[in-house]
C-alpha cells in the first residue's frame, strides 16, 4: 500500500480542535450529556433507555452534513484519502465499533470529554487506544 503524504497543519488543526471542544461544551450546556460519538451512535438503535432519540439523530445528521456545509461555505473540501481495501474497512469498522462501546467511549468521549474532566478511566482508555493504534500502524506499515 502506498501511503498518502499529508502536510502538517498546526493552525487549522488547533482551530478545528477548538470547534470540537466548543461543540462538546454546548452539548453539555444544552442536554447535560457527554459528546461521545460512539455512545450517541449505539443509542440510535433499540432498546431505548430514554426519550432522547430525536436529538441523537439530529447530532449525527449534523456530523454527516458538515462536509456539505464546508463545501458550500468555502467552495472546496479538504482531502479524504481512504487507504485499505473492503476487508480492511469492514474489519476495521467492526473493531472500532465493538471496542468503542465495550470500552465505553472513543476519541471524543474519552479522548476529549473524559480528559477534560480529568477522568482516570478516560486517561487509561486514551493512552491504551493511542498505543494500540500506533502499534497497529507500525506493524501494518513497517513489518508487513
Amino acid at each position: 500500500m502506498i501511503n498518502a503524504a499529508t502536510t502538517f497543519t498546526p493552525v487549522a488543526s488547533l482551530a478545528g480542535g477548538a470547534l470540537i471542544g466548543l461543540a462538546a461544551v454546548l452539548l453539555m450546556a444544552l442536554t447535560g450529556r457527554i459528546a461521545g460519538v460512539s455512545g450517541i451512535a449505539v443509542r440510535l438503535f433499540p432498546p431505548y433507555a430514554d426519550g432522547e432519540l430525536a436529538g441523537r439523530i439530529a447530532f449525527v445528521a449534523g456530523l454527516v452534513a458538515a462536509p456539505v456545509v464546508v463545501m458550500v461555505a468555502t467552495g472546496s473540501l479538504p482531502a479524504l484519502t481512504i487507504q485499505g481495501d473492503a476487508v480492511i474497512l469492514v474489519v476495521g469498522g467492526f473493531l472500532v465499533g465493538f471496542g468503542s462501546v465495550w470500552g465505553n467511549g472513543c476519541t471524543s468521549g474519552h479522548g476529549v470529554c473524559g480528559l477534560a474532566r480529568l477522568s482516570l478511566r478516560s486517561l487509561v482508555a486514551t493512552m491504551t487506544f493511542m498505543a494500540a493504534a500506533m502499534a497497529t500502524v507500525f506493524v501494518a506499515r513497517h513489518l508487513g
Partner: protein, 155 residues
C-alpha cells in the same frame, strides 16, 4: 427547538473534524505512524486537534458544570464509574486496532459519509454492527464476571 440545536451542535463538531483534518484517514494514520518521525513524513497535526479540543472543553465544562442544571434537561448525566476494570483497557485495545487499520474513529466515519464516500458507508455499517454486538454482550448475565452492564454506565 432543542433538536434543531442538537443538529447545529453536531454540525459544529463535524466542521471541526473537517477543518482540523481529523476527517481524513490518511492524516490520522500519518500521525499514528511514529516510525515516520525519522523519515520526515510524520504528521503531528492531530496532537494539535486534541490539544485544542481538550483545552476548550476543560475550560467550558468547568464553567457549565457549576450550573444547577443544563438548559434543556433536569440533570447532568455524567459518568458515574471511577474504578478501572477489564473493559476500560480491553475495549480501547480493540478500538485502537481498528483505528490503526483504517484510520477512522466514529466521528470522522460519520463525516466521511457526507463526503459521499461508499468506502465510508461500508466502514460505518460494520462499525454499527460491532457497537450493537458489544452492547448486547455487555448486557448478558453470563458475562457479568468481565462485563459491567451498559445500563450502569453514563454515557
Amino acid at each position: 427547538m432543542v433538536v434543531v440545536l442538537q443538529f447545529a451542535i453536531g454540525l459544529v463538531f463535524g466542521v471541526g473534524l473537517v477543518i482540523s483534518g481529523m476527517s481524513d484517514p490518511a492524516k490520522v494514520l500519518n500521525f499514528l505512524d511514529l516510525a515516520a518521525i525519522g523519515s520526515g513524513s510524520w504528521d503531528p497535526s492531530l496532537a494539535f486537534v486534541m490539544a485544542g479540543a481538550v483545552a476548550v472543553t476543560f475550560v467550558g465544562f468547568a464553567s457549565v458544570l457549576k450550573w444547577p442544571r443544563p438548559l434543556s434537561a433536569e440533570t447532568f448525566h455524567l459518568p458515574i464509574r471511577r474504578k478501572l476494570d477489564l473493559r476500560i483497557v480491553s475495549g480501547p485495545v480493540i478500538f485502537g486496532l481498528g483505528w490503526g487499520l483504517a484510520g477512522f474513529c466514529p466521528g470522522p466515519a460519520f463525516t466521511a459519509l457526507g463526503f459521499g464516500s461508499g468506502a465510508a458507508a461500508m466502514f460505518v455499517a460494520a462499525m454499527l454492527a460491532g457497537m450493537l454486538l458489544a452492547r448486547w454482550l455487555a448486557n448478558r448475565p453470563w458475562l457479568s464476571a468481565v462485563a459491567t452492564p451498559t445500563h450502569q454506565f453514563e454515557p
